[in-house]
Symmetry: C2
Subunit: 247 residues, 2 copies
Amino acid sequence: MAFKVGEVSRLTRLSVRALHHYDSIGLVKPSGRSASGYRLYTERDLERLQEVSFYRALELSLEDIVRALADPASDRRRVLLAQRALLEQRLEKTRAVLALLDDTLRAFDGERTMTTEEMFGAFDPTEYEEEAEARWGDTEAYRISQERTKRYGAADWAAMKAEAATILDDFATLAAEEVPATDDRAADVAERHRLHLYRWFYPTSREHHAALGRMYVADPRFAANYDQRRAGLAVYVRDAILTNALR
Amino acid sequence: MAFKVGEVSRLTRLSVRALHHYDSIGLVKPSGRSASGYRLYTERDLERLQEVSFYRALELSLEDIVRALADPASDRRRVLLAQRALLEQRLEKTRAVLALLDDTLRAFDGERTMTTEEMFGAFDPTEYEEEAEARWGDTEAYRISQERTKRYGAADWAAMKAEAATILDDFATLAAEEVPATDDRAADVAERHRLHLYRWFYPTSREHHAALGRMYVADPRFAANYDQRRAGLAVYVRDAILTNALR
DNA sequence: CCTTGACCCTCCCGCGACGGGAGGGTGCAT
DNA sequence: ATGCACCCTCCCGTCGCGGGAGGGTCAAGG
């Protein structure tokens, strides 16, 4: 009925050291201790450890797992969606780095030397610098964004753009399938969009996100960018963002 | 001619702290110091920092960058190939985790609860355990392999299989294009195969790899596995491996 | 000549999720 | 009584810096 660490380790395939760690941070504390101080796990503890293993397989941080297990479904969903955004970002970034790496290897095979342009790619992230500054220069969000983006390399920008394209695609697909912008699925994509901004640029609150949504329609250049992808998409995106902000 | 850390930071977009760090580990040491102890970087130092930035964009570890910069082309290629293997592995793994995550989210949306089988997938990695042990049980390589694989989860196995499939694909494609197994491109894929084994199972030397290559032909079950993908592929793979081992 | 402010220096702690080891106690079989 | 497998609690190390404390340096302005 009560298992010692070694037994638990064999049953769960978690290392004894990991069990110690989970105990010390309060993620999974054994229900009891023997007279001599041995950790004693009950079957309920084992179930919790199984759940932890599962969430670890999704590469959630231990902190997130604590949150996810703390209260039922409601919060769990949010944590998983956030994790999805993180993983998708990593996927795009890895793809971009691999592409850069392959270019480099090709240059080696061809015995040529690399130029600076080859090294850093054609995209010039400072292109819109002046404009953005004039518009948002004195906002806090802009400062944070500047702070972060100045450390991005070519691969980061490529990854960011790829991810943005994916999200735009998903909006366009939903719109094409005539899923209303007030549907949960549209709001889910809007949430991914928010997290995308959150991670790549600055902490974007739902309110701030809603303000951005309005601007996508109000500013003709943003609107044109969306609408050339599909007619009415700017309005669709705005509404999905509003739906997400209010749910 | 001589730049202080702040200037270098602005020129290279590396943080001052990073410059200190590179100095302290000996990656990029400034050519001089001022009387008062200020780091003074020459233009040659700046060039080296550019190279470091570039390799960092490929996500090489600082240690690998030291190696890559230490001696010219010969070693650089090896480092890049190893990095390619690592990134590809991460790509596959991330894809697998994302798939698992999406399954989980779908289960949430459908309001169903997850079964253990859904959680851990259909693949049973212990399927071949007895056989493998009978064959290689007393080898050092097998022990290390056991040590490592017992910590793998469903997503790892899926990622490993996906990566193996990619490599097999590349062999098949080269064979289909009648690229000789002695070609550098075939040997490159063989090297990726070796690194695949190296990372997922145990440190595989080129000699050991060559032995495995011979076995792929000698053992009818291995051979059949390759040849059902494409006739003569087992021999092709073996020869590519031998080419790689000898170059 | 002195102060101010921007810059520079050298430690040193912290992150995340443990791995690994030292130094020492426990529990059961021989 | 001894051996051996198992358990415990610290504590250091990983990787690439971020951030801060505590203190020196340098040119400009009062």
